[in-house]
Subunit: 228 residues, 4 copies
């Protein structure tokens, strides 16, 4: 069942340690089959070097396990809310990648300081507030709902990443591969923004017209980066 | 004698350079056989790339060498005091891993800034004071006793790590493997906490209910992370 | 056509990930055949691990593609302006290498703090201002013209590197290999300058006579470094 | 001639890139045969991946090349002065290792903040002033003489390292291997001291009795670290 998607999700998960984004099991990738209404996600707490494509867990959009011998990632309910609220995404990634997590712990969104950021994400990468009180009762679900709320007036396709305060980042994309790609970009951008502020504590975000130029060089009808 | 435990301790020691926690011989792992009352530890100053399982040294809980051609680690007396005072631990690790050591040199405990920390350690990781005066006469033993004193009103199972001021970290766990795992976690947490303060010098520790949520997601009767 | 130069440019491009200067496709190298009046450049957005020598694109100095199945790098117009204005250069490199990019985002030139810098670059590495307004209409061309303007009163052979504000670095050299070499030097120098200021916020640039001594130890008629 | 020492010096030079201490050719190791009065040093500007044992250059203590097809390292005159002034050393290392060089550029000695430092170096690692004026006429020789002057009231065996302001570090030891070992220690210590000050800007050096304890645990008649 969904063997091809399991293979894709397996490979996308294996890319996390390859790109230095995870220590131990601190990350997970999922991808959705919109037609069937199922998504495939990494099992919870299984070591990357023991992971196999057939270990991936199939879930439906009510949060029921459809297939798989393992429990799904403990963050499954967060992925689920993102798939429900963001209709154009096909993959979701969660990591504790160190620079992005440091910004999340610091409780700050990442300002757009340059074109590396602007090429992929349009404007500041927001930091969602910490959950509180009763929201912890359904922690992972409410994390997802909070991310959705954070994007109420933002374009989730133009900014495919969020920081959850005191926790870490989630990224997404049109498929699992692009979601992982965005997780790598986020970590690089987070690193350079922190160092940039160290080098110049008075630094201001990049001018808006530079942000526009670089974002639209790669996105939209007039894009001219790459081979398309 | 204790061949299986020697193999385990050997492998746990070899994990230290694998995870980037040691330069040269700056680290050691031990593990205890509680029934027999013996513990097995790395020999002192032997290069990791020459280390063999049979080089491990067997000690009793009075600090006598029971078997082994080499001298035990110079930190053996510290390990011994931890085994005596903390009845539920099975393994101890000492390293000079760079971020944790930087906090130890700075003389500060590591505040809990996020869930990466809270998933493994409950609250601040304490920094024990520096020894002084006559305490240096039995330096390694007194280092152990000082760690024990530091945990007089703390739960050593909920916080399996300590920083020794001007020195470096010790971690422990229910066995050697878990103690090494906690040493890796500590280094990641130390790195992210330092960067977090760089990004936001006014940062506050994570809210208590987030710390509770994440710690109990992985520990205790209601844990639901992983496959158990 | 220009098969040898394509091979050289291919290898120089492959050196970028080897030296840790690029993530994904965030960089490009070109080299010029001054006699023929053509230059060879990496295709746009092609993954490094799929790149082949024959994928390189041949351009003339009016910006026309002369040969190649792919689109040239989106930064081609910048390379072109540098070749036209700097007659003694044979290769150009653009990257988003993280430390140099952090300085570019910070909007600061890199002061010469020591001999590592002085051995290769004579004085501060300048940071060109950000483009603005109508300059974005021909963004890449104007980036090149702005770099040229920045060197109006500077010796482009003595300082073979520039930072473009909110963007990243360009370096050059007498051929592609030397341009890549200078990109590596720039990243090391950028890293050490940032850390140097962290260690001593009051630090001043190296004395002028030290800068002279080291630069002329390697350059000019009295050079005595190396085997020539 | 001196084939065994050439092999040793070759291997010690190859350890520099292995330990991440050099970029390109930015480092050199030498070792002396005190009986014969000759020392062996890396040739100038030869790539590490092309270096062979027979490329090493043999020098006498008047600075004459005794054997070798290449020019000796441009820093040879500095090594020479150290061999003449420090009778118990057998090897010398120069690198531009990034953390130690950042301290040198910052113009600060490295305070002893902990036992990693104290295990190898007794007290602050000094930063020699920058050369000036006529001293640049015999730059490398005067660098050596300045290091010697810096140790006029310090024990060069207890502190086997120095930073040259605006330049970088030199280390030494009883042979080439130990000199390289000390270069690795210096880089680790420099890294942790910088981060330590970042974590606690008010940090003070480690108490003197801790420094004594750790230094004498490894050095002198009562040493008990290791297998001797």
């Amino acid at each position: 069942m969904l063997e091809e998607l399991k293979q894709i999700v397996y490979e996308a998960n294996m890319d996390l340690p390859k790109y230095g984004l995870v220590t131990f099991t601190w990350g997970n990738v999922s991808a959705i089959d919109r037609e069937k209404g199922y998504f495939v996600i990494k099992p919870s707490g299984v070591d990357y070097d023991k992971l196999k494509p057939e270990d991936m867990v199939v879930m439906d959009l009510e949060g029921n396990k459809v297939e798989g011998k393992y429990n799904p990632s403990s963050d499954t309910a967060t992925h689920l809310e993102l798939y429900k609220a963001f209709p154009n995404i096909g993959g979701v990634v969660h990591t504790h990648s160190p620079w992005a997590t440091s910004w999340a712990q610091a409780g700050r969104g990442i300002p757009c300081y340059g074109t590396t950021h602007a090429d992929y994400m349009y404007g500041e990468i927001p930091c969602a507030r910490c959950l509180e009180g009763k929201e912890f009762d359904e922690y992972e679900k409410n994390t997802g709902l909070l991310i959705v709320e954070t994007f109420k007036e933002k374009d989730y396709e133009a900014v495919p990443a969020v920081l959850c305060k005191n926790h870490g980042p989630f990224t997404w994309g049109k498929n699992a591969h692009e979601a992982v790609h965005n997780a790598v970009v986020l970590e690089e951008v987070a690193k350079m923004a922190a160092r940039c502020e160290m080098i110049n504590p008075e630094v201001k975000p990049a001018p808006q017209d530079l942000q526009d130029k670089h974002y639209y060089r790669k996105h939209g009808a007039n894009a001219y980066y790459g081979q398309n």
